[in-house]
Every structure is written in C-alpha cells, then in structure tokens.
Symmetry: C2
Subunit: 461 residues, 2 copies
C-alpha cells in the first residue's frame, strides 16, 4: 500500500507537468534527514531531505491523527527518520506538494551538540567539520555539482572517443620545476636506496608527460585525477591536493587545442545548467548573483584569439594604471588578464604565443625562435581558466630547450624518446577541476569546493 | 575533395550494413602509426592504426602511381604518417576495405632501435617500456578496455543518482590495520611537527570512512579513485598504487548491498561487451579462451547467497583434500572460495555473515554476537571479487568493537560521531578496479592492466 519514493522522484513527477493520478500514489514511504521541525501543539511541519534532491519535502503531522505526536515534535535537526504518509498536491503553497504523515519512525536521533543547527555558520567554521558540512545547503549544493561536473567531463571526452588514462600518482619524475612536491616514502630518512621503490618517489604534480605516451598510441586521450603541490602558501586558490583534467590530442596543433578547450568549456556549462539547475539557482541566489549570467554568456560567446604580443601592445596603450608594469617578456598578472578579457574583448579570449622563457620546456617553439605555441584561456571574472600548448615534437629542439633551462635529462629520456619513435604533432591542456567549480559558482575559496581540503598545516581526517 | 576520416569511422560505416555511396567517400585522408609495412617492388601494404579502433586499416600503394614509392616502402614500424587515398570496399579480402594511397607523408619517423618490432615480446619485457607498450596489441586492447570499464562504472552509478565523491588521497587516518602505508612528507626525518601538515600524513588505503560521511548527506554515493598499499610483497595480484570503487548507500542493509553489487557487476560486463567488442574478442583469442564465456555466464546468472557458516559445513563435508584445514573462524583461502563457487554453486555466490574476528571494525555485528553483516562475492575462476558489508550504525556497539580490537579512537572520533548525528543503517562495498579488469580479460598480472604499474623497488617514470 505504501510506495517507496525518493524526494527527487516526487519533485520530478510533480514538475513534469504530466497529469498523474494522485490516487495511484496516495500513500508513500520516504526516509531522510530532518532539516527543520516545528509545531504549534496541533500541527507540526518537518522539512525532510533524503539526499537525492536539493529541495526538501514538507512533512505535515497532526496531533489528532499521529499516535506519537509528542515524540515527533521533539525530533531534532539532523535526525534520520522514516515517514509513511499521504501524498497531497498543494498548488497554492510554496512547495508543490506535502506528505501528511500517518507514521513517523526515528531511525537515528541527533545529539544536541550537532553543530549544524538552524543558524548560519561561517565557511571558516564549516571547514572544521568537513564530515558534517555536506549537510549544509552551500556544501550540499557544491558537492552534488562537483559530481555532476565530473560526469560532464567524462561524457564530453568519451562521447568523442577519447581514452581515459589513469596516469600514476607516485612518480620518479621530479616535476621539472612545476612546483614543490611531496615525497612518498616508507623510511624515516633520506637513504632512498633502502626506500620502498629503491629511489626517491614523489606525488605527481601533473599527468601530462605520462599521458603524452598514451596519446602516441590512442590519438585522443585524457586524464582526470588527483595532483599534488607542496607549496607552503596559504591562498584561497591553492590546495595541496586537487583534481586536474589533462587531455592530449595527436595530429593536432594549437588551433585544434583551442577548439577542443572551447567545446569542452561550453559543454560543461550546458551540462551543469541542465543537470544541476536547483544547485546553480542556489549559488545565484546565495553566493554570486551573476554566476548563471556569466557562464551563460561564456557558453554563448565565440572565444576570441589574440597573441601575447598583441595583448602587451594593448596593455601598453591602455589608459589604466596597473600595479605591475607592462613589458614584453613578463608573465601577465591577473589585473592584466582581466583587463584584456573584461575591458578589451568583453568575453572569453585565448592569449597565444607566449615568450618561451616564461613557459614550460615541452611547449613547441614557434618559427620566430622567441615564442612558444601556448594558449591561456582568459574568462571574465577570474582571468586564466585553462592553459594549453602544442608540444615540441622535434627531438633536437626539445633537447636544446631542456639544456637552455638547465634540466637534467636522464629521468626524462623516455619522454624525449617519444619523439624518436613515431612522434607527431600533438597538443593538450590542463584544467584545474576545483578552480573550474569556483568559476561556475562564484565560490571564493578552494577549501569550500573540495570534500576534505588539504592545505599547509591543515589535514582534517 | 579529401574527407578526413578516422579508422573507427571507416569501420563503423562499413560494418553498419547500411548502403552508402562509395562515390560520396571516394577520397579520404587518414593519419596514424605504421604497424607493418611490406612491399614486393610493385605494390606495398601498410597496416595503419590511428588509435581510434582496435583493428588496422590496410593502405595499398603502387609503384606505378605513388611518386615517393621508394621512400614509402622504407617507412619503418612505429612511424607516424598521413595518407591521402581512394577508399575501396574489398568484400573478398580479409579486411572489408582498403585505402589506395595517392599520397603518403611521413609525419614522424621511427628510429631503428624502436623496441616494438614485429616479433612478440614477453610481458616482462614490456613492463620495462610502459611508455611504448600501449602500442602493442595486448596493451592497446587493455588500456582502451580500462577506459571503457571506467565509464561503465560512472554511468552505472550516475544513472541511479549516486553522487561521486573525491575522497582525499592524503589522510591523517592511519588505515587501522588495513595494510602498510606510504607517508606523504616534505621533511627528511620524523619530526612531524615541522612536516607540511604539522603531523604525520599518509597515502590512503581506502576512501570508505570518508565517503560514509557523504553518504549521510547524499544517501547514495561512490568514490572511484586511487589507493595505495606499501606492502613489500611481490605477487601478481598486488600493486602499490591501484584504483578502487567504493559505493555507500544509506537506509540500506546487507541485502540491498548485495543487490547493488550484483547489478553493478552485470551492468559492467554488459557494457564492456557492447563497447569494447573487438578488444574482448582479442582477449578471448590471445589471452584466455574462456573469458567471454565466463563473464557472459556471470551476467546471466542469479547470484546465490550462502552464509559463511553454511560454507564451512559444506567444506567440512567435501570429499576434497584442501591444503589448509577447514574450521569455523578461519579466513577462507582461495582454494575454499573456488571450491564453493565452482564445485558447489557452479556460479557466482555471496558468502555472508563472517566471524567478527576476521573482519574489519566497522562491519555491523549480527544478533548472534559472533558474526558480522559482511559479504564477499565469489566468482568462478578467481574467487573473491568484491567485499562489502552493512556498517555498524550503533555508537555503543562500534565503540565496543573498536576497544576489543585495541584501536586508538581519537583519530576516528569524527567517524564515530556520524553515529551520533542522525546516523542510519547503511552499507557499502569495495571493488578493486584493476582486479576486475584482470577478471574480465584473464590477464594474470596486475602489472599488465595498469598504465604505469608501481610495485616494490619498481617505479618506472
């Protein structure tokens, strides 16, 4: 007689606009957690969330009909309950339906020291309780969105035949200056001969070099997994552990790379708007009122392309006082990037062909001998979102630039050899998954988009 | 005039069975890598693989019509080339079509010391060249299959509303006896106060404890990511870095858990047969002639359920001499597990309700006080494939068993607190992704299903 339903199923049914027989669904069974519970002595209201949907389901209970009314009215926020009741459409009310309880069973009570009572808490406070904060609205929205965006990434690449590669997390590659690294070890000193792997081992900062090897077999490949940085800096945009997406495409140049970036960003925006509409609406209402407008604009824009050199000229001509002086050869700061995409272009723009000195060794040297075939995607609101490049496929040129940069080549001979064994032009990019989430939602701190964030001197559980 | 096509597109078009106008596809452009190249002075044949499809595309070139015939005939295995040519159906030949080249351009030559010449190499040898082996058939099949199976996992869970959680890789949780752990560190000693996180940090052995916290917010959740074991043992089934799938479901008991495992295993088998048919055919022909039959049987079987105690009784009665003596309370060995599922059941079987002494602290104590609500899925051919359990949701019972097992509770207070703050019955399981791949294909060594395998004293790149 009681049909088990999730809150999502109920909302989707009601919102589908299709006619349905309420008689066929007269009595339902639900379970979930109590978000709020109030009563006036005769009638009580529970906002029930069962984890399947952003919105709550209203449960009404009456003194007159519910045997354990006095017990139910004392059920505290956070408790797990099971409800059997009568489904009722409520077209005049705020919520489109409610459940009139005929039975309420307490599955798991919630102690009084539950930190998530009704009042609002700061994000700082919430970071102290990462095991509980997914039950608070902002994090409840964020972590479902995180899951939805992950699936967007996989669907985008898999639907185009890309092969997903699990590049290794522990590596002997020391990152070539990409940043400070963690060591993975089983010894208490630096006698690495006696360490687990018989040599020093690191936690990876990038899967790119490894994925290039697979690109030379499968043409179109991507990684999507964790990476690590042991930088001892406390900023709102850096975490010690984060997730990255790194695709790599063979027989492809920088133009193909930018096409792919543009397609991916637009696909992901469309996907989250379609698949997490309630969550995005929440971020628009509570976190960043422009977020949906901003990403919709990006989705609908043609991404412009401009060389670094052109950008420098425009910045030099600009009638703006920048904190950092503009000159060719410099690494652009956020103020410059935002000026270019917000003031000059008024939308997403790829800057291309950066000075080789400020870019990584594997980027392809242009014919001018001074710049490399790199691109950064700048978007209004934050500046750089994605960085990519065509890779140097010429063995001798790669070797020369590694020498110029003073790199030790032994550990990377395998990588260089990819150029000797049927190498071809290829390109790829890296997208910081956590920063993409921040961009989509307007959340300001990377600690608030990761389930259990890791930062210097902060390792909670 | 030349339409760019991938080898997969050509095969899919030809095999679709649909009529198509060859005129509309008279001239095509392809690029890829040379698998073999032979000529007889008048006509040559290149087996071209472009990374998109398991099978090669035959390229025919004629002395009479190809300007650079003498150059092309010397193109070595492994080289990257671009081919323009005429598409021809060849219904009488082994391959359903071929390309008659009008132009062949060398994109990247392959040096003579390319290790993957025509002759077969041992898997041991291939492990020395993880950056090149994806171009050899077995690994080319394996690593696409790995990607396909990854997507099967995500599609299975996402289609049912599960939330994907990126549980942390670096953790302060010391694994509670699940195995030896790597330390993540930035110092050269054990002065952990001065280490990056201000305390000792480990690489995770499981995401389960963390994902349980998210289960209490989202009801149905899963992790799918890397895990680590620093066990100094060299076996064919253990790697120091591997990928795990760990779902967790709320308001669910052991029966629900087993239903979920059964659905997932069947879904994944169906998915790889549908989405990697060429690869599975290859494994059947070259690696394990029973693999497709075996997994098809599992897909079509009803998974039986039997208690550990029943299994012990059957083993004691069995007319077989086991190497390890059978008695209640023991951990079953592979010989016992295989006897049960191969000889007694003749198909997949869940063993349930194991003695609490041989199982983890978080498994729910049964009313008998002696066994816990655990299940292992045994499958013919290998024995245990999946391990799961209902979790202990009663704070006092959990505390008692932690004391019995002599565990330090401070570091797990957050985990125990999940029981105080609206905990409810819940269950979950762990599936070793790499072992699942071994099971599907009959591959015998975990080193051959991972892109860059990590094992004691072995850290290649």
């Amino acid at each position: 007689m009681f049909e088990f339903m999730t809150v999502r199923e109920l909302y989707e049914m009601v919102m589908s606009g299709e006619e349905f027989e309420t008689e066929s669904l007269e009595y339902v069974e639900l379970d979930g957690w109590v978000r709020t519970n109030r009563d006036n002595g005769k009638v009580g209201f529970i906002a029930l969330n069962d984890g399947t949907y952003f919105r709550n389901c209203q449960v009404v209970y009456l003194k007159e009909t519910l045997d354990n009314y006095d017990e139910v009215k004392r059920i505290s926020t956070g408790s797990a309950i099971r409800v059997l009741g009568k489904f009722k459409l409520t077209p005049e009310a705020k919520q489109p339906f409610e459940i009139e309880a005929t039975q309420v069973v307490i599955e798991g009570a919630c102690d009084d020291d539950f930190p998530l009572q009704k009042k609002r808490h700061s994000f700082e406070y919430m970071r102290e309780i990462p095991h509980l904060r997914p039950r608070a609205n902002t994090f409840y929205a964020m972590f479902r969105l995180r899951s939805v965006l992950s699936m967007a990434i996989h669907e985008f690449f898999q639907s185009q035949g890309f092969v997903y590669v699990h590049t290794p997390l522990i590596t002997s590659n020391d990152g070539e200056g990409a940043g400070e690294m963690f060591r993975a070890t089983t010894i208490d000193n630096t006698d690495f001969d006696k360490d687990f792997f018989g040599k020093e081992a690191f936690l990876t900062v990038t899967g790119q070099l490894h994925v290039e090897a697979f690109c030379m077999a499968f043409r179109d490949v991507y990684t999507f997994g964790p990476a690590f940085r042991a930088e001892n800096s406390n900023t709102s945009r850096h975490a010690s552990e984060f997730w990255m997406i790194e695709p790599e495409i063979a027989f492809a140049d920088l133009e193909d790379d930018m096409d792919l970036i543009e397609d991916m960003v637009k696909y992901c925006i469309e996907y989250v708007l379609d698949n997490a509409p309630e969550e995005m609406k929440f971020f628009e209402q509570m976190i960043d009122k422009d977020c949906i407008k901003r990403i919709t604009h990006v989705r609908d824009s043609e991404f412009k392309r401009m060389t670094y050199t052109e950008a420098i000229e425009l910045l030099e001509k600009a009638d703006v006082k920048f904190e950092n002086k503009v000159e060719w050869g410099m690494d652009l700061n956020s103020e410059h990037e935002r000026y270019i995409c917000e003031q000059i272009v008024g939308g997403p723009v790829f800057l291309t062909d950066y000075p080789k000195e400020i870019k990584a060794f594997y980027m392809r040297l242009n014919d001018d001998g001074k710049t490399v075939a790199a691109c950064d995607l700048l978007v209004p609101g934050i500046g750089e979102l994605v960085g990519g490049s065509q890779r140097e496929e010429r063995y001798d040129v790669l070797e020369k630039i590694m020498d110029e940069k003073g790199m030790a080549k032994e550990g990377l001979q395998w990588y260089m050899d990819l150029r000797r064994f049927g190498g071809c032009k290829h390109a790829g990019f890296g997208l910081g998954f956590d920063r993409f989430l921040m961009y989509l939602t307007g959340m300001q701190n990377i600690r608030d988009v990761e389930p259990f964030p890791r930062t210097p001197r902060n390792l909670k559980f």
